[in-house]
Symmetry: C3
Subunit: 398 residues, 3 copies
C-alpha cells in the first residue's frame, strides 16, 4: 500500500460507523455491528500500511496495557505486545502467581488496582467453561464502576485475547486474511467455508476458535459448513448465533455429518481439533476441585475417544474434493501435523506445507487487528485522528 492509497483508506474510514466502539470492550464478535467489524479491518489495514511506509502510528506518549494470560500463549502474547508497542503503550503483565490475588481479593479490587494509569486490559482465560467471558465482563464492570466513582481517570477497555466462547483477535485476523485473499469483503459472499473438527493426539483444546469462526464467518454471507464427530458438539448458544447470523446475512449455516461432506466444493477449509463440550464441562469441574486423578482419567478416556476419529485428517485426497481442488487451508496455529509435530494429526504434512506461507500471513494480521481494536476504543473520530497521525509523519525508524 502506497501513501496515496493510505490517504484514500483513511478518508474512506470516515464513512464507517464506529461510535459504539468508542470506549467499549471487544469481547465477542457477535456483540458488534457489521460496520464495527469493517472498521476494525479498515483500521488494521491502515495501521499496517502506515508501518510499512515507515510512519509511526504512536498515539500514546505513555500508558500501560495490562495483560493477563491464564493460559499459555506465544502468538497472541507477541501480537498484543506488538500492538501495544506500536501505539505507544507499555505492557505490564499481571502474573497471578507473583501477586497477592490468591488471598481472596475480589475481582473488582484487582481490576481497579492495576488500572490507575492503564488504558487497555487484555485477557486470555479459556480453560474453564462458563468462566472466561464471565470473568472479562466482571473486570469490565469493575473498571466501569471505578471510572464512575472517580477511582480511575479513564475507563480502560478490554480486549478478549481468547475466552471460553470466542477468540475474536484470531477470527478477525482470519477474516481479514480471507478479505485480502479473495480481494474484498464482498467476495466472501457465497463462498463455502468448512469449519471441521480434526484428530489430534492431545486433549482439552478450547472451543473458542470453532465457535468464533462459525459466529463470525456467518456475518459475511458465507456458506458455513460445520462438521464434527458425534459428541464433539460446541455451545448451543453459539450455534444459535451462527444460525441467526446466516439468516441475516443471506448466507447459510449447516451442521454436516462428516469432514467429507463439509469439504465438498468448499472454498476454504479450517480443520482443527477441539474437546467435546461435555468433556470441557467435566474438566472444568475437576480443575475447580483440584481432582488430579479425575483429570488423568478424563484425559485417558478422552484421548481414547479421540482415537475413534483418527481418520478426521485433512489430507491431499480430501483437499482434492474441494472447489477445483484448490480450497484455502486455514489454521490458527500451531497445527498438529502428521509426521512433523506428531505421528498422526490434524493435517498431512504436504497439505500444511502447501499452505504454510498463507497461514503465516494470516497470523501476521493479529497484531494489527488488536491495535485496531485498541485504537477504535480510544478515539471517537478514528479517521480524523489517523489523518493527523499521517500528517504528523513521524518515522517509525528514524
Amino acid at each position: 500500500m502506497d501513501k496515496p492509497q493510505l490517504i484514500k483508506m483513511i478518508k474512506h474510514l470516515s464513512k464507517t460507523k464506529t461510535d459504539k466502539l468508542f470506549l467499549n470492550d471487544f469481547l465477542l464478535t457477535w456483540e458488534k455491528e457489521k460496520s464495527e467489524l469493517l472498521a476494525v479491518f479498515q483500521v488494521a489495514q491502515i495501521l499496517r500500511g502506515m508501518r510499512d511506509n515507515n510512519i509511526s502510528p504512536k498515539v500514546f506518549d505513555s500508558g500501560l496495557a495490562v495483560s493477563l494470560f491464564r493460559d499459555n500463549s506465544t502468538r497472541t502474547r507477541f501480537s498484543f505486545s506488538s500492538a501495544c508497542n506500536l501505539l505507544g503503550l507499555n505492557v505490564q503483565d499481571l502474573d497471578e502467581g507473583k501477586s497477592q490475588i490468591a488471598h481472596g481479593e475480589t475481582v473488582r479490587e484487582t481490576a481497579n488496582m492495576v488500572s490507575f494509569l492503564s488504558d487497555i486490559i487484555g485477557i486470555r482465560d479459556d480453560m474453564y467453561l462458563g468462566a472466561g467471558n464471565t470473568y472479562m465482563k466482571e473486570v469490565a464492570q469493575s473498571v466501569q464502576q471505578g471510572f464512575e466513582e472517580k477511582v480511575l481517570p479513564c475507563r480502560p477497555t478490554l480486549v478478549n485475547l481468547q475466552c471460553d466462547i470466542d477468540h475474536p483477535t484470531q477470527t478477525m485476523s482470519d477474516a481479514l486474511h480471507l478479505i485480502n485473499w479473495f480481494g474484498g469483503i464482498d467476495k466472501l459472499k457465497g463462498k463455502k467455508i468448512a469449519m471441521t473438527w480434526a484428530y489430534s493426539p492431545s486433549y482439552g483444546k478450547p472451543l473458542s476458535v470453532p465457535q468464533g469462526i462459525i459466529g463470525l464467518m456467518t456475518r459475511f454471507g458465507m456458506d458455513v459448513s460445520f462438521a464434527y464427530p458425534e459428541g464433539y458438539n460446541v455451545m448451543e448458544d453459539v450455534v444459535s448465533v451462527a444460525k441467526k447470523n446466516a439468516a441475516q446475512s443471506k448466507g447459510s449455516f449447516e451442521i454436516a455429518g462428516s469432514m467429507e461432506e463439509a469439504f465438498a466444493d468448499a472454498d476454504i477449509v479450517y480443520p482443527k481439533s477441539w474437546a467435546p463440550y461435555a468433556v470441557m464441562e467435566k474438566r472444568t469441574d475437576l480443575l475447580r476441585n483440584g481432582d488430579d486423578a479425575g483429570l488423568k482419567d478424563l484425559e485417558k478416556q478422552c484421548l481414547e475417544n479421540n482415537k475413534k476419529f483418527i481418520s478426521w485428517e485433512c489430507t491431499r485426497d480430501l483437499m482434492n474434493t474441494t472447489k477445483n481442488g484448490k480450497a484455502l487451508y486455514m489454521h490458527c496455529l500451531p497445527a498438529d501435523i502428521t509426521g512433523v509435530s506428531c505421528n498422526q494429526g490434524e493435517v498431512s504434512a504436504d497439505v500444511f506445507d502447501q499452505y504454510r506461507v498463507p497461514q503465516y500471513i494470516q497470523a501476521g494480521y493479529k497484531p494489527y487487528v488488536i491495535a485496531a481494536m485498541i485504537f477504535l476504543s480510544k478515539f471517537e473520530n478514528p479517521s480524523g485522528k489517523l489523518m493527523e497521525v499521517f500528517n504528523r509523519g513521524t518515522n517509525r525508524i528514524f
Copy 2:
C-alpha cells in the same frame, strides 16, 4: 485540577526546599525533612494534574528502572511500573531466580551490573527482619561507589518499595489521601488517628505499614494512638521515632491498650494485622536456616495465638465510637474482610464497603507518589523543570 491551578501549584513548589532530595534515595520517611515530604505530595499532585489534563510529563527519552521484588506484589508493582512509564523509564525486573546471583555474587557487583544505564532501583524486601533496609543501604552504597569510581555514568537512586522497617510509598499515599480528604495538610493537626492491630487468619504479615504509619503521621501534629494485643509490639526504634516526631510536631503519640481505646473519638482508623516482632525474628532465623518444619510449627503457634484476639475486628459498633461515628477507615489493601475474603477477619464487610471507594482512591495516589520520588531525585530545580514540561505541552494521548 485545571491548568491555571496546575501553574499555580508548580510555581508554589519553588518555595519548598527540595535540594536534599536531589540525587538521594527514599528509604525511610523519618530520614526526610518535613519540607521534603511536602515536596513529594506537591509533585505527586502536579504530575497527576498534568496527566488528568492530557499533558505528558515524560522526562526520560530512555533509561531503565530496575525492580527487585523479593515478595509478592500487585499494587506496588503496577504503581512502580506506572510511575516509571509516566516519566519515560522502562522497568527491567531483576528476577533473582533467572539470574546467576545465587552463585555467591556480592551485592556490590550485582548492584553495579544492573545499573550501567539505569536511573532508578526500586526494591521490595520485607520478609526478613533486619535485612530489607540493610540490603537497600548496601545497594545504595554500592552504586554510590560505582558512580565515584566512574563505573556508572550516573548514580541510580533507590526507592524503597517496602522493607522490614517502613513502606514509604504506601504511607505517603495514605498521607496524601488524608491531605485531600481533610482539605490540606494543616487540617491534619490535632486529628486523631488510630493505628491498630486487627485479627487475620493469616500470619507473617510485615510490620512495615504500622511502623511506617506511626513514623509518618506523627510528623503532621496528629494524635496517633497505637494499639495492639499483648506481644504484638513492633520495633522499639520506630516507636522512639514516633515519640520524638510527635513531640516535635506538637502532636501526640500513645500506646493504647485496646482497639476500643484507640478508636474512641478517632478521626481516622487504620486497623490492620501484623505479626509480633518476636515471631518475625524467629521466622527470620527459620527462613535463613531453611527450617521448614520449624516454620510450620511457628505458623501453627502463631495462628493459634492470633485466635485469642479474634475480637480485634473493625465493626460497625466500633466505628460508631469514633468522632461522630464517622471516622475515615483506611487500609493498605488487600484487607481480610469478614465473610468475603475469610470467615473472620480485620474488618466487617459493611464497614469495608462503606469506605471502599475512598480506599481505592487512597491506593490511586501510589503511582504518583513514586513518580514524585523519582522526579525529585533527578531534578535539582523541580519547579522549573515542571514548568518546562507544562510549556512543552506534549499530549499524553495524541
Copy 3:
C-alpha cells in the same frame, strides 16, 4: 568525550567499511571482517559518548526486540535490555515455559510468529554443545525466508547473546576495554594475553568465553597464550580459527602447558573455569535424554577431576610473574573468588579486588557493544545516521 570529539568520531566512522553488517546477524566474531569489528567498537563509543552528553540516540519510535534466554543471565539480560531501550526498542521475552512451543512447533514457525513487528532477536543458548549456534542459524534462516516470502515486513537481525561456540557481546566488550585501557587498537599489537583455565568448585561452565577470546584476540596481532589442564581442551575448530587469525594478523597463538607458562610476562591475563569439551559432549547427551542420574554422576566425576587442578588459581605470586608484575586481570564475571564466593576458586581475593574497578568498567561496555551491533545491522550509512541523531539533539533526560 566532549561534543567536538563525538563529531570527529562520527565523521571518522564513515571511513570504516560497514556495508556487510547491514541487515546481517552477529553470531561469531570470526565471521566478521576486521573493519566490521572496528565499526562495532566505534559505534559503541559514539553511542556511549552521546548518552554521556545527554543526547538520546533513540532511532526506533516503536519496535520489538525478542529475547530468548535458555540459560540464566543477569549481565547480558540487562545489557540487552539497556541497549534496546537506548535505541527505542521494547524487549519482549520469549519464555518457552509460558508458550506453546513444547507442542512440536517448528523453529521456523516460532521464529516467524514472534517477528511480525520485531527488529531484533537476541538469543542465549549455551547449554548444549553443537546446538546453540545451530539453533541461531536456523532462526536466522527462518526469518530470512519469512522476509522473502513477504510474511515479515523486515528481516529481524540476530544477536548472539552466548552460544556453545562464541560469546561475542562479551568478548567484544572485553576487546573494547583493552582498546581503551591500552590507548588504542594499535597498542594491542604484540601484547601478550594469557587465556587460561582456572579452578572452580562448579562444573558445566560453557566454553564460549575461552573460545571467543582466542578467536577474537588473535585478530589484533596479540600474542595469545592458551593454557588448560590435560583434558580441558576446547573445540578443535575454534583452535584452528585462532591459529589462522594469528598468522593473518601477525600475532601468535600457542597452547601453553601451565598457567605459569601462560602468565609469564603477560600483559593481560584472563583466568577462567570451563568444562572439558568431552564432558560437555557427554552432558549434552545426558541432558537430551533427561538422564538425571547420569548427570549427577557426571557432575560428581567432573568435580572430582576439577580438584586435581585446584592449584590453577590466579594468585598474587602468579600475577608477580607477569609483565612488570602488572598484567591487567580480566574476567567475564561473576568470578569464583577464593574466600568470598567459594572456599577455593579461580582467583584470590586480593588480586580480584585490585582489579575490581577495571572489571566493572569492562562489563559496562556490553550494553553499548550490543547497541552498536543492532545499530549497524539497521542502518546502511551509520555515520550519516549518527550525525543526524547528533544534530537532532534530543535530550536523553529532558
